[in-house]
């Protein structure tokens, strides 16, 4: 029997991280920001059917970048988690923090114990009843979570996008201003993104009920002017 070669754990983790990052960088990026009436999620996505952004619960939205089948599986798991929790307790008891922790646990577990890490980065966004309680949880392939303020970018171009957004908060901007800024940051200086290349959704700060809504092509075109 052959003895396996010794590979230092640092190397194993680095290889896995490189593998996941490469996979994520192949896909297109996504940004989300808090604005005066809620949270906008905006992705570069030429497909009308393979969605990156979706509704999880009344006030919670989900977005993923990377490998579609992997983040879609996480999306459905999130909906199942939220719906069963809401069924067992009450709609008020479903929160983004628990969900983000669950995702982090799972991604971390897979990163260290499975053959292959998931090639995804995901966002769990929750709109509060007041702006101070808005939440943006950014969860990476290795299970690390960051609780972002103002805005967040996911995907291979995340750093460049964040640089373009700078330090300007959009918390007091209206929907149109916010979407314009996000789309410009997503596109960069050298190109323009037409509405057909975009997937946009809003989680509105409503008093109750389901706050998530998609913004369709026609409306995006109007908003981008």
């Amino acid at each position: 029997m052959n003895m396996p070669f010794y590979v230092p754990p640092e190397q194993v983790m680095k290889d896995r991280a490189d593998y996941a990052q490469k996979g994520i960088a192949r896909g297109r990026s996504l940004v989300a920001a808090e604005f005066s009436e809620g949270i906008v999620l905006c992705a570069e996505n030429p497909s009308r059917n393979l969605r990156k952004i979706s509704e999880i619960y009344d006030r919670i939205g989900f977005a993923g970048v990377g490998r579609y089948n992997e983040y879609d599986q996480l999306r459905i798991a999130g909906i199942r988690h939220a719906d069963t929790k809401g069924y067992n307790y009450s709609r008020d008891d479903v929160d983004s923090q628990t969900l983000a922790n669950q995702y982090a646990q799972m991604l971390g577990q897979i990163f260290t114990h499975e053959m292959k890490p998931l090639e995804v980065e995901i966002l769990v966004a929750e709109v509060g009843f007041i702006a101070d309680n808005d939440r943006l949880f950014h969860i990476r392939y290795d299970g690390s979570v960051t609780d972002e303020d103002d805005f967040v970018a996911l995907g291979g171009d995340a750093e460049a996008i964040l640089e373009r957004l700078g330090t300007n908060s959009m918390k007091s901007a209206n929907l149109q201003e916010c979407i314009k800024t996000l789309v410009a940051a997503l596109a960069g200086p050298d190109r323009e993104l037409p509405p057909e290349q975009l997937e946009v959704a809003v989680i509105d700060r409503l008093d109750d009920g389901r706050c998530f809504r998609r913004i369709e092509n026609g409306e995006i075109a109007t908003l981008l002017g």
Binding site: R51, I56, I76, A77, T84, Q102, Q105, M106
Partner: protein, 273 residues
């Protein structure tokens, strides 16, 4: 592929798909009435909800239900809701054992929402009607023990641009009704009123008035059906479902319509004298 770690993830062969009841069953959380089977005679005085009615008009469907719940000969609840939105484009009305009926409505509402979120599209109206049929069928063992639930389902079929109406029996049998339907203890009286009056009721407004008259007469002749209670300000719930979606009528509007019915009946009595 992945172990279950409180985020519900399943292997492809175990996946419950977009069905919430199947998901809850897999997780061991679904509602169960198994204990009922061992309870002997089953002659408890279970709280019952009574009369609900629904009728179609040109642009949609109207649903209405009284507010009374009874246990045996006692009124156990005066403000029970029996007409609910199932989702934006459909409504469900329930008659029968109140506890399981409300649970069924809740599960049905959650299932429609769950499907919509998982699949990215909502179910067709017929798909929704069939889902409810499965839930009624699954409830049959409890119905055999006396906890009968018989819902009505109505909605606006956006593909066919018309209102549609479905009735059920205890076995989950699903029957699409062309014009009108009623369920519950006062349904016989209510149906007669609708049958006699429907020829003259074409607009939404007419149909709302007709259903209100039907409920009034059901309450008049059936002790388990609650009439308008002006002393406490409790009135039946009436909702319309059309291209604009599910809309519940304002209480003042319903109160005024009941007053009209009463005024009309009082006039008839005076004529007889």
């Amino acid at each position: 592929m992945l172990a279950y770690m409180s985020l519900p993830i399943f292997s492809t062969s175990e996946d419950p798909g977009p069905s919430l009841p199947n998901l809850l069953k897999k997780l061991g959380m679904g509602p169960s009435y198994d204990a009922v089977n061992s309870s002997g005679s089953g002659e408890l005085d279970i709280t019952h909800g009574t009369t609900v009615v629904a009728a179609r008009y040109d642009g949609g469907v109207v649903m209405a239900g009284d507010r009374r719940a009874t246990s045996g000969n006692l009124i156990s609840y005066r403000t029970m809701q029996k007409v609910f939105p199932a989702d934006k484009w459909s409504g469900v009305a329930i008659a029968g054992a109140a506890g399981p009926a409300i649970e069924m409505v809740r599960m049905f509402q959650l299932q429609l929402e769950h499907y919509e979120k998982v699949e990215g599209n909502s179910l067709s109206l017929e798909g929704k009607a069939n889902q409810l049929s499965q839930m009624v069928r699954a409830h049959l063992p409890a119905a055999m023990q006396g906890m009968v639930v018989v819902p009505l389902f109505a909605g606006y079929d956006r593909r066919r641009a018309k209102g549609r109406l479905f009735a059920y029996d205890v076995t989950g049998g699903r029957y699409e009704e062309g014009e009108y339907m009623a369920s519950g203890s006062g349904s016989l009286h209510a149906k007669t009123v609708i049958k006699l009056g429907r020829r003259n009721a074409t607009t939404k407004d007419d149909v709302v008035n007709l259903l209100i008259k039907a409920l009034f007469n059901a309450a008049d002749d059936d002790s388990a059906t609650g009439g308008p209670d002006s002393m406490r300000g409790i009135y039946p719930i009436v909702a319309t479902i059309s291209a604009e979606g599910y809309v519940q009528l304002e209480e003042e509007d319903i109160a005024a319509r009941f007053e009209d019915v009463i005024a009309e009946l009082t006039l008839d009595e005076e004529e007889i004298k």
